[in-house]
């Protein structure tokens, strides 16, 4: 739940943690130093200078007519159905009033190869409440803990179906938490519940903290980025991926936009 409302700024927060780590003083900083310390020159690379750091931000637009959401039939699962006053609709394509597309995973695909980043100590929480995954689309760093939480207290199984990482399929028949990590970067890994076929989430696993998920306002922000040239990719579960190559100078705040949608009829 923690990250659902702030998914736009998640990348920023994590990046700030990196920066904070360099200041030292806290235990976290010490650990981060240890992670970076293994690889000499790369440790230096992971120090992002706030003064010169750049920002790549923007929004994801939706063009055309959004497909109609289908109603989810939860009648087999009254525990979940009872949690909703109105029928629940599918959220594959969520277009907001300002014409932007939500649940797009925007991240730095290329350009950070020479840098290493510490593994955040704070886990990312995936909640199952009302037979629904929250968040639906989220990011995670390699080795960072993903806490899978069952708030419903009825049987969910979490079936992770990666192709680069190893998958898992675990059962949670009661209110409980399970922790898992991924070993390699992979965009994206589907997470599914076989008991409730409509439950679907995607996690993007990266070896750096520069990712952002568009929310209701369709905006994303990747910062603080060292000046340089990057390939930025936007991923959407229905519309696939788009990439842009960008170059940002010292302290630059670059605005870019992605645009997904239905081919006009």
């Amino acid at each position: 739940m923690r990250y659902t409302k702030r998914s736009d700024t998640l990348g920023l927060l994590l990046a700030l943690l990196v920066a904070a780590g360099c200041g030292g003083g806290e235990q976290r900083a010490a650990e981060e130093g240890a992670v970076g310390g293994e690889t000499g020159a790369e440790t230096m690379a992971s120090v992002v200078d706030e003064a010169t750091a750049a920002t790549v931000a923007g929004s994801v637009m939706f063009v055309g007519t959004a497909p109609e959401a289908t109603m989810i039939d939860m009648s087999e699962e009254s525990v979940c159905a009872d949690k909703y006053d109105a029928p629940k609709y599918s959220e594959e394509v969520v277009v907001s009033e300002n014409g932007t597309l939500a649940s797009v995973f925007v991240y730095v695909k290329e350009g950070l190869e020479d840098m290493t980043f510490p593994v955040p100590q704070e886990p990312v929480v995936l909640d199952q409440a009302g037979c629904w995954y929250t968040p639906r689309v989220f990011g995670l760093q390699v080795g960072q803990e993903m806490v899978i939480k069952n708030s419903d207290g009825i049987l969910h199984n979490i079936n992770a179906k990666p192709s680069i990482n190893r998958g898992f399929n675990i059962s949670q028949p009661v209110v409980m938490e399970t922790k898992r990590t991924f070993r390699s970067p992979e965009v994206m890994i589907p997470l599914e519940c076989d008991v409730h076929g409509w439950m679907q989430a995607y996690v993007g696993v990266l070896d750096h903290p520069y990712y952002s998920v568009t929310g209701a306002h369709g905006s994303f922000s990747l910062a603080p980025l060292p000046p340089g040239t990057y390939v930025i990719e936007a991923w959407h579960e229905v519309y696939g991926t788009q990439t842009q190559e960008v170059t940002v100078g010292e302290g630059e705040e670059l605005e870019i936009a992605f645009s997904f949608g239905e081919p006009s009829a």
């Binding site: 087999e76 992770a160 998958g167 898992f168 028949p173 076989d194 409730h196």
Partner: protein, 520 residues
């Protein structure tokens, strides 16, 4: 001297190294040769599970490139050990098209094939040898343990997929897909001889611990780690699941005996009289002889009970079908099945199809050995049918001279009565008819003491089955007990059966002991 000795040692060392590496490459080459010859037709030359025969199989053959294996001794999501893969090649996977190769390959050959199979996935090189889990021993089987197992079966919601009675009819059953998005059936827990990883308590427990990777079946190990339940309680679940199936897999016999009863015949499938009559198991297979062939039948077996009272014959047939068709909850499943089995065919919207059962007899009792063609006869030898349908629920007598040619008998000639019920994934259909009827031309006249040919056809509408897309049996025989002879022959027959049963018990015990020893 010392340098010569050192050189000698080095030379020997080098020779050993060369020999060892040669042996390794030879193994891989032999593994590939065997794989290409015997495995590739299903699993594909590149191990992608896309061999030429794969399209006809559900579940599909394993795709080795993903490094995902169902039956393992390693934790969920991990690679299998070599022994895990060797074991599957040796004994096969019940409930799938994978046969055991024990009689074809020796241990060394199996090891080579495993070495070759592992080259299809980068994971084996990347991750190294996996660590198998330590499995303990099952607790002693007790009534309390079974009750505990039953309690947890409900609590950890096994029934969501497998159904409350374990017949694979849980509410989630119609929505299940494997990792390749092919429809996946939850196991019918009452048929442990069809379990992919084997049907013993130990094997069931292992599946609960490891899950069946690549399928919707998850691992329950985290429940022990989190303290929600104990290892012993999970063993009890395994024991309870095992108790849902009979002690032994059903034996196939040729003759169904219609027991002579000195009373009114049952009025419905729920009549208590049926409990006293031993059922005969009839295995069913997909119809793959005539177009359109059918490779994915739901019904893999029927149980048949028969009784007569000298006036009438009653048949009670039960089988497992997770849906009472037509059921809108299964429409999507029906489409998945059609797309999986006939991927290149245009499939329109799924039709709402009923379940069906047909009992087939010859039109008259054959005098010689000749029986009608088993697929609904031909023009020379027509067949006489009892056709039951679930929607609208009714049964009719018919005559056929080949597949798709069935004609219902005229209303005046019909004397068949029927009664059917569906509960928790099981159909029970009872037929009753007078032994002799007015229309002896179009309806078989039953006689006592004869071996009357009988065969069965079954359709699951929710699986998209209709017409030639059905499950079929071969010819069996039904024998109506004669009043006098029954007592004369009963004791020798009973003695024979008892001897046979005792023999099987001894063999079964011995096999089980051997298996236990092997697994420990």
């Amino acid at each position: 001297m010392s340098s010569i000795a050192a050189a000698r040692v080095m030379a020997i060392g080098l020779t050993v190294l060369v020999l060892a590496s040669e042996a390794a490459t030879q193994d891989l080459e032999r593994g590939q040769r065997l794989y290409d010859r015997w495995c590739a037709e299903c699993h594909g030359v590149d191990g992608k599970g896309d061999g030429s025969a794969a399209a006809y199989m559900l579940p599909r053959p394993r795709d080795f490139t993903m490094g995902i294996y169902q039956i393992r001794t390693t934790p969920n999501g991990e690679l299998p050990t070599d022994e895990d893969v060797e074991r599957i090649i040796r004994v096969g996977m019940p409930g799938t098209a994978m046969p055991g190769w024990e009689s074809k390959f020796n241990q060394g050959e199996i090891r080579d094939v495993v070495a070759y199979i592992k080259t299809f996935s980068r994971f084996f090189e990347q991750l190294g040898e996996p660590n198998p889990l330590a499995f303990g021993k099952p607790p002693r089987l007790t009534e309390e343990g079974l009750a505990e197992g039953r309690r947890f079966y409900r609590e950890i919601e096994c029934f969501k997929c497998h159904g409350d009675a374990g017949r694979g009819d849980g509410p989630s059953a119609p929505t299940l897909q494997d990792d390749l998005d092919f429809p996946a059936r939850p196991a019918d827990l009452t048929k442990n001889w069809t379990f992919n990883g084997g049907g013993t308590v130990d094997e069931i427990y292992r599946r609960l611990r490891t899950g069946l990777d690549g399928s919707p079946m998850p691992s329950f190990s985290d429940l022990i780690d989190s303290g929600f339940m104990t290892d012993e309680q999970l063993w009890h679940v395994a024991q309870y699941v095992r108790s849902l199936a009979p002690d032994d897999p059903p034996r196939v016999r040729e003759v169904i005996t219609a027991t002579l009863v000195e009373a009114e015949l049952p009025a419905s499938p729920d009549d208590l009289l049926w409990d006293e009559i031993e059922p005969l198991y009839i295995p069913m297979v997909g119809q793959v002889i005539r177009q359109t062939r059918w490779f994915a039948p739901t019904v893999d077996g029927l149980w048949v009970r028969a009784a007569h009272n000298g006036e009438e014959l009653a048949l009670m047939i039960t089988w497992h079908d997770p849906s009472r068709s037509p059921d809108p909850a299964w429409l999507e499943w029906q489409q998945w099945i059609a797309q999986s089995v006939y991927p290149f065919r245009e499939t329109g919207g799924a039709e709402r199809l009923p379940d069906r059962l047909t009992v087939q007899f010859p039109m008259s009792i054959p005098t010689g050995r000749e029986r009608p063609y088993f697929l609904m006869g031909d023009s020379r030898r027509p067949v006489y049918l009892w056709q039951w349908i679930s929607d609208p629920e009714e049964a009719l007598e018919a005559r056929a001279t080949g597949l798709g040619s069935a004609q219902a008998l005229a209303a005046g000639s019909r004397t068949l009565t029927w009664s059917s019920s569906w509960d928790q994934g099981e159909w029970r259909v009872q037929f009753r008819r007078r032994l002799a009827t007015a229309d002896s031309v179009n309806a078989l006249q039953f006689l006592l003491g004869e071996a009357i040919p009988i065969a069965f056809f079954a359709w699951d509408g929710s699986n998209g089955e209709s017409g030639t897309q059905m499950a079929i049996s071969s010819w069996y025989a039904i024998h109506l007990q004669q009043p006098a002879s029954s007592t004369v022959y009963l004791s020798p027959v009973a003695a024979m059966l008892a001897t046979a049963a005792l023999g099987f018990l001894v063999i079964w015990r011995a096999q089980r002991r051997e298996e236990e020893e092997r697994s420990s």
